[in-house]
């Protein structure tokens, strides 16, 4: 089993069921790294301030909301912490609904819920009840600081948790207008016949990602043909960064001449030692 991305408990009425949550799906897309075409080195992303012309460490970053072009209101960690969030560790069941009432457009991402320690019994009970009644439970869960609407439904002996989009996240404007289109009885009959011909039970194992297969094959053949680009001998990247940074700082200091850093005029705040400069 992969590592749980969330753990907590399902809560409804007086009952709480400790559970762990795992992603039910994973993307199998072939991923590419972005290289420098001329030397084959993997590119790094850097946070760059175009005003100060410096690379900015995470510690010097802030989150800003652009309320009008180029104007931001900034929020601190504290601000975020003060926002109301329901408990981070419970899945609060709010109602039981029939699964077909939920249109698939609402489904965002699927997770498996597994029973926590010594919670097999209440877990099995909830699962069985949902199966027998053919019902799903709507609930809310907080994942990574974000409260999400979700639905719990039984599937092959497991309780699934599907996160749902909120209604205002589903686009309403579809730009489709079929009012003036006329469909004749005859045309419809032809369509029915075609459909009948292709009708069969859904078997997901019949389907493959042919594009991915072709891509994998291409990579394989390039490897065999030794059309391989390798980055220049890897050096200890972290330390190399430091060496580069030191060199730049030394060069900057040389260019700066007498421009002194401002810190020298500020004494260590609590020290009695005076720091006036000699020379």
């Amino acid at each position: 089993m992969p590592r749980a991305i969330w753990s907590g408990s399902i809560s409804f009425g007086m009952v709480t069921i400790p559970v762990k949550m795992f992603g039910a799906t994973e993307s199998r897309d072939i991923r590419f790294s972005l290289l420098h075409a001329t030397c084959g080195t993997k590119l790094q992303q850097k946070r760059w301030c175009p005003t100060d012309e410096v690379e900015v460490p995470w510690t010097d970053t802030a989150r800003g909301y652009e309320f009008s072009k180029g104007q931001y209101v900034t929020l601190t960690e504290e601000d975020f912490d003060r926002l109301p969030l329901s408990s981070k560790h419970t899945i609060d069941l709010s109602a039981f609904v029939e699964e077909r009432e939920i249109d698939p457009v609402f489904y965002e991402k699927s997770y498996y819920l597994a029973p926590g320690e010594r919670a097999e019994k209440p877990y099995a009970l909830l699962l069985k009840a949902l199966e027998e009644k053919k019902l799903s439970a709507t609930a809310s869960i907080t994942i990574r600081k974000k409260e999400q609407l979700c639905v719990l439904r039984p599937l092959d002996g497991t309780i699934m948790l599907e996160t749902l989009f909120y209604p205002d996240e589903i686009r309403q404007d579809r730009g489709i207008d079929l009012d003036k289109v006329k469909v004749s009885e005859r045309e419809l009959d032809m369509a029915f016949t075609l459909i009948e011909l292709l009708k069969k039970p859904f078997d997901p194992s019949e389907y493959r990602d042919h594009y991915r297969d072709a891509l994998a094959q291409l990579i394989e053949s390039k490897l065999e043909g030794k059309q391989v680009v390798s980055a220049p001998a890897t050096r200890e990247t972290g330390v190399l960064d430091l060496a580069e940074a030191l060199k730049r700082s030394v060069e900057a200091a040389k260019k700066g001449g007498k421009a002194k850093a401002p810190a020298r005029i500020r004494a260590r705040p609590t020290r009695t030692r005076r720091t006036r400069k000699v020379g």
Binding site: V250, A253, R273, G279
Partner: protein, 354 residues
């Protein structure tokens, strides 16, 4: 009998005032039984006589580290619990003191500074309760790695900028824990305690490893108070500005690597809970307490050089005026070779980034 043994004999005479014979010089010393350190725990109070004895005994190790360096001194005339003042200029010092005129942008003129190169000067400073010694990181001598640099330190700032005194022997990192024990009074600095020191030590070991990966060897000493001082001896190709820039870059790198441990913040409030990586001492006229320098701590601690291999087994209060002379007799000075271990940072950076 050696000069050291002779002076210890003289100081053994149970009088409150004496005239010490140091070679050809006479040095009157007074108030020998005045308590300078009140003591703490099992460590009893320490007097000015104890200070003088200490200085006599460590002088063979200490004086080489002070040679050629302008020296500032913190004087504690009423002991370490009383008022102190930081003295830079000396008018009319005794004949055995080496003087040097250095231009000061603060006074916009030349000032008279001292260099402590002999036992007489050291004991003269002790007589004035000048117990904390702050030598510059640069020195007046050109040998062996600053040949061709100017030795004109007076007249103008431009002259001083060009002179050898603008080229430090070390890049220094002052690691100062701002983790409070909870027993400090309002507004007081964090006191020495085990947890904070262990964190500082771990950070020092990481920094050593980091710089070691660049083939740079650093030297470590206890500050004598709560933290650690790391010295990176360099060939004198970089001036103070470059040294400071190097230290700052390493500080920023450390902050990025270990954001939970390191702070570069100026406000004490924002340093709290972390170790302040102070790179700002890399500046002409600034200094850290010298190795073997006594400090302002009730038990008479001194700043002690430590072999990296032993760093995990030591604690700042292991090293006091009472314990250090014997330790030095037994083990010698781990920093004795520091000026022979200079590293050509300019060349090294060329190689590493080529």
């Amino acid at each position: 009998m050696s000069e050291v043994g002779e002076l210890l004999d003289q100081l053994g005479e149970p009088k409150a005032r004496l005239v010490l014979k140091i070679g050809a010089h006479d040095l009157p010393v007074t108030n020998l039984d005045k308590v300078l350190w009140p003591g703490s725990g099992s460590a009893g109070p320490l007097t000015k006589r104890d200070l003088l004895r200490y200085m006599v005994r460590v002088s063979p190790w200490l004086l080489p580290h002070l040679a050629g360096r302008p020296l500032f001194v913190t004087r504690y005339p009423d002991g370490v619990t009383g008022k102190s003042f930081y003295q830079k200029h000396w008018d009319n010092p005794p004949a055995f003191v080496r003087n040097i005129a250095i231009y000061s942008s603060h006074t916009e003129g030349d000032g008279n500074y001292l260099i402590c190169e002999n036992l007489a000067t050291l004991l003269w400073l002790s007589q004035m309760a000048g117990l904390e010694m702050h030598p510059w990181f640069s020195r007046v001598d050109l040998k062996p790695d600053a040949r061709g640099r100017s030795r004109k330190f007076s007249g103008s700032e431009a002259a001083l900028d060009k002179s050898v005194l603008n080229f430090p022997d070390f890049v220094v990192f002052d690691l100062d824990p701002y983790e409070y024990s909870g027993r400090e009074g309002k507004g007081e600095e964090p006191e020495l305690h085990r947890r904070a020191f262990n964190r500082t030590r771990d950070l020092a070991l990481r920094l050593r490893e980091l710089l070691g990966a660049l083939s740079l060897e650093t030297f470590v000493k206890t500050s004598g108070r709560t933290g650690l001082h790391l010295y990176l001896p360099i060939v004198r190709k970089f001036d103070y500005d470059a040294a400071r820039s190097i230290a700052e870059t390493i500080g920023r790198y450390a902050l990025r690597q270990w954001p939970d441990e390191v702070t570069l913040e100026w406000s004490v409030e924002r340093r709290t809970g972390k170790i302040f990586f102070d790179y700002n001492q890399n500046s002409r006229g600034k200094s850290l307490a010298s190795i073997f320098s006594p400090r302002r701590h009730a038990s008479g601690t001194v700043s002690m050089p430590v072999d990296w291999k032993q760093l995990e087994d030591v604690y700042p209060t292991d090293f006091t005026i009472s314990t250090v002379p014997d330790l030095l007799d037994r083990q010698g000075d781990p920093w004795a070779g520091i000026l022979g271990a200079k590293q050509d940072l300019a060349e090294l950076l060329e190689q590493r980034t080529a």
